[in-house]
């Protein structure tokens, strides 16, 4: 299954999580999302959001693709997201 990339670099908390939630709401169960963020809060907040929202946190890795340094957080949609800000 392909992963959707959400580039939230340059955004500070809570915006990376807001972007993640908005995309998650339009994504089907089983799809994978990859959030790129250089916000130091994301390392804690992405797994915490997954726990609060019943989603599956897959990994946090260093992003070595284009567009500058970041962390890449992979999340699998485990249950349909009904509410997003």
């Amino acid at each position: 299954m392909s992963s959707e990339l959400i580039d939230a670099r340059g955004l500070l908390c809570p915006m990376p999580i807001v972007r993640l939630a908005r995309v998650a709401k339009t994504s089907g169960v089983g799809s994978e999302l990859v959030l790129l963020s250089d916000d130091p809060a994301a390392a804690t907040d992405v797994p915490a959001w997954c726990r609060l929202r019943g989603q599956e946190f897959i990994s946090a890795t260093t992003w070595d693709g284009s567009g500058g340094p970041a962390m890449a957080f992979t999340v699998r949609i485990a249950t349909q997201v009904l509410n997003a800000p």
Partner: protein, 382 residues
């Protein structure tokens, strides 16, 4: 609680002005309690001289300092010779570590937790041997067995807070003490003095007078293994002893020790009300910290999809002062290391910590103002 104040008129007018300020950030510091204030003013007149001098003004200052040391020792269940004054809680932790460092083999292990006050890692900068930092669970609790085992074969020193200053979780000090055997246990009681009963089992305890309603600029190290008399003339100060502040710290400590349970009972009810009502009134709120084994005056929670700094500023405009562990609200740009270690949401974070007062009006006001503020901030998201 005005009947408990030694000077009701004065403290009532003071309280009115503070209540209108809606101050709910006691863990960052509180005002001088009435006993501390009176003692300080008296000591400025009677204890201004250098206690190291042999003339009568100096001897008088030395007597006041001795009495303050005695009074503080009583509050910690120690003797006067075991109390050392420092210039802050941070300096107290550094001084406590210094007491052990020279007397231990260079390769002995220090164990501490991931949720200590930032002064602890700074104090441990002076330690040459290995330092192991034990993580916490989602409620902010260390595992005592893991903590003790981390000392390994060359135990040097265990450093653990009693109450967490951000989330209020109480660590199992006595259980840790029984598991680590002869290894000395240094307990940071900065957030617990005057709030909860102090534990047993420690070798050295540190605290800061400003957190118990005493003056700024006074920390204490209580070393129960210390037999000789600490310089009664205030030798621990690099220059002249700050006798008035020490006297005020001691009077403030006695004042709060006599009222601790009364304040704690009132605060527990208010914190329980917040804990129950916040998730009802506001959607997507995570209340963090140990709900059972916790300090009576602290509640920490995070509101999903909200900016912590905007919360602090929005509440300030509505007359309520709180702090936040969110990255955007701090000076470092990093989220609270305590929240990160617990693995809980760091954005939209608020810490409420109740000052030594009847805080019911502030708590009611917070419950009235916060839901609308959170709704507005969520609606205004870009």
């Amino acid at each position: 609680m005005s009947s408990l104040d030694s000077d009701p008129d004065r403290s009532n007018s003071r309280r009115e002005s503070r209540r209108s300020g809606g101050y709910l950030d006691a863990a960052s510091g509180t005002w001088l309690n009435p006993a501390a204030e009176q003692a300080w003013l008296a000591a400025l007149e009677q204890g201004w001289a250098d206690p190291r001098r042999a003339y009568h003004q100096g001897r008088h200052a030395a007597l006041l300092l001795d009495a303050a040391r005695e009074e503080i020792a009583a509050g910690f269940g120690a003797s006067a010779g075991q109390v050392e004054f420092t210039t802050s809680g941070t300096a107290a932790l550094a001084a406590a570590v210094e007491r052990f460092a020279p007397n231990l083999p260079a390769d002995s292990t220090v164990v501490t937790s991931a949720v200590e006050h930032s002064a602890v890692p700074r104090a441990l900068d002076r330690w040459s041997g290995p330092i192991r930092t034990v993580g916490v669970d989602r409620l902010g609790r260390i595992d005592p067995a893991e903590f003790a085992a981390s000392l390994g074969s060359r135990p040097g020193l265990a450093v653990l807070q009693h109450v967490n200053q951000e989330v209020g979780t109480v660590q199992p000090i006595e259980q840790v003490a029984s598991l680590i055997g002869p290894c000395p246990l240094l307990v940071d009681a900065g957030a617990s003095v005057g709030r909860v009963e102090l534990p047993e089992g420690w070798a050295v305890m540190t605290a800061s007078a400003a957190k118990w309603g005493g003056p700024l600029g006074i920390g204490v190290v209580v070393d129960r293994h210390h037999r000789a008399s600490t310089g009664s003339a205030g030798d621990e100060w690099l220059g002249r002893a700050n006798v008035p502040a020490a006297v005020a710290a001691a009077a403030g400590l006695s004042w709060i020790m006599q009222r601790r349970e009364l304040f704690a009972a009132g605060h527990r009810k208010l914190i329980a009300e917040l804990r129950e009502q916040l998730p009802v009134l506001i959607s997507d709120v995570e209340v963090v910290g140990d709900p059972l084994n916790c300090a009576p005056h602290i509640l920490n929670f995070s509101c999903l999809y909200v900016d912590g700094e905007a919360l602090v500023q929005g509440l300030d405009r509505r007359g309520i002062a709180v702090s936040s562990g969110s990255a955007c609200a701090g000076v470092s740009g990093e989220p609270s290391h305590v929240l990160a270690a617990m693995g809980v949401l760091t954005h939209g974070n608020i810490r409420v910590s109740l000052p030594f007062d009847d805080c019911a009006p502030e708590v009611t006001q917070l419950l009235q103002e916060l839901p609308g503020l959170v709704r507005q901030l969520r609606a205004d998201l870009p």
